[in-house]
Amino acid sequence: MIKKIINPKLSRSEKMAFERYVKANMKRAYYSAFGIIGSHDAAMELSQAAFIKAYRNFKSFDNTKNFFTWYYTILRNLCLNFIRDSKSKRTVTFDEQIEWKEDTNPADDIEKEELKKKLWESISQLEFEDREIITLKEFEGLSYKEISEVLDIPIGTVMSRLYYARKKLAKKLEVFK
């Protein structure tokens, strides 16, 4: 147990490599968690907790593979547990954490501000899997191949899940009716 926590089997170079992986992937990790659970504090906490678990199991990571793909499995499980816990405690809350991109900022446009709110509300109401795939593709900009690796599903399934997730989103967005 103690060995697992401090992981003394890691050489200095492995520890340095791990630090590099954290620094290179922390933003993507945070945003992925945030897109799924919708809370800044929880996303910060869970993405860090997932890195700690990754550190303890770093020996089992095959460094010829993509670190984020391996890490995301841990993060996803933590997020799922968090959602289940929150649901049982009825405390799922989604901070409104989206904004217009700089070049499309409609500060004076109330209608578009409403649309932003409505969009976030609708995303929050989606099922975990739909919210996850929309986050990975639309907010994180992962390719179909990357999503397929991260979620361990065929590319065709990624495409079809995305399609149906967008369709559900459209239904929730009354403005499109």
Binding site: F34, N81, D85, L119, L173
Partner: protein, 146 residues
């Protein structure tokens, strides 16, 4: 929905349609239902493309790695503290039982009862710790709640 149509829509959004696929896609869009489906997808996609998740402040990113590092280090500290507390509890319990048994004033039946209580408590403590440390670490699905 037609899987081929979904495939073509996704490739269209990524700007990856070949000229043959483009003609195939255009011909599918002659169908009113498919055209409506496409328009709906396009509108959602356009709105999503204009949005981004808010970026936390730069200081948060500066402290991020340190946060991970500190938590790894604190895990070790908690283990050390737990071991220390455990040793003291066991040592104190044994000492208390010894002095209690040496007391000639207390009836034998009470001594037996209290000794059994302390021994039971220690066995229970040991069992819980063993479960947490050894059985828990071997369960590869422990991260997933059932």
């Amino acid at each position: 929905m037609n899987e081929r149509f979904i495939y073509l829509i996704e490739k269209y959004f990524d700007g990856e349609l070949t000229s043959e696929e483009k003609s195939e896609f255009d011909s599918l869009l002659l169908d009113e239902n498919l055209k409506n489906e496409f328009e709906e997808q396009k509108r959602v996609k356009e709105v999503l493309n204009k949005m981004k998740l808010k970026n936390p402040s730069a200081e948060i990113w500066d402290r991020y790695w340190l946060g991970v590092y500190n938590k790894v280090e604190r895990g070790l500290a908690w283990i050390a503290i737990s071991i220390g507390v455990l040793i003291l509890i066991v040592y104190g319990s044994i000492g208390a039982v010894e002095s209690f048994l040496a007391d000639t004033q207390t009836p034998g039946i009470v001594k037996l009862g209290i000794s059994a209580l302390v021994i039971g408590g220690l066995i229970l403590l040991f069992s819980v710790i063993r479960e947490k440390l050894f059985i828990g670490t071997r369960d590869k699905y422990k991260e997933v709640q059932r």
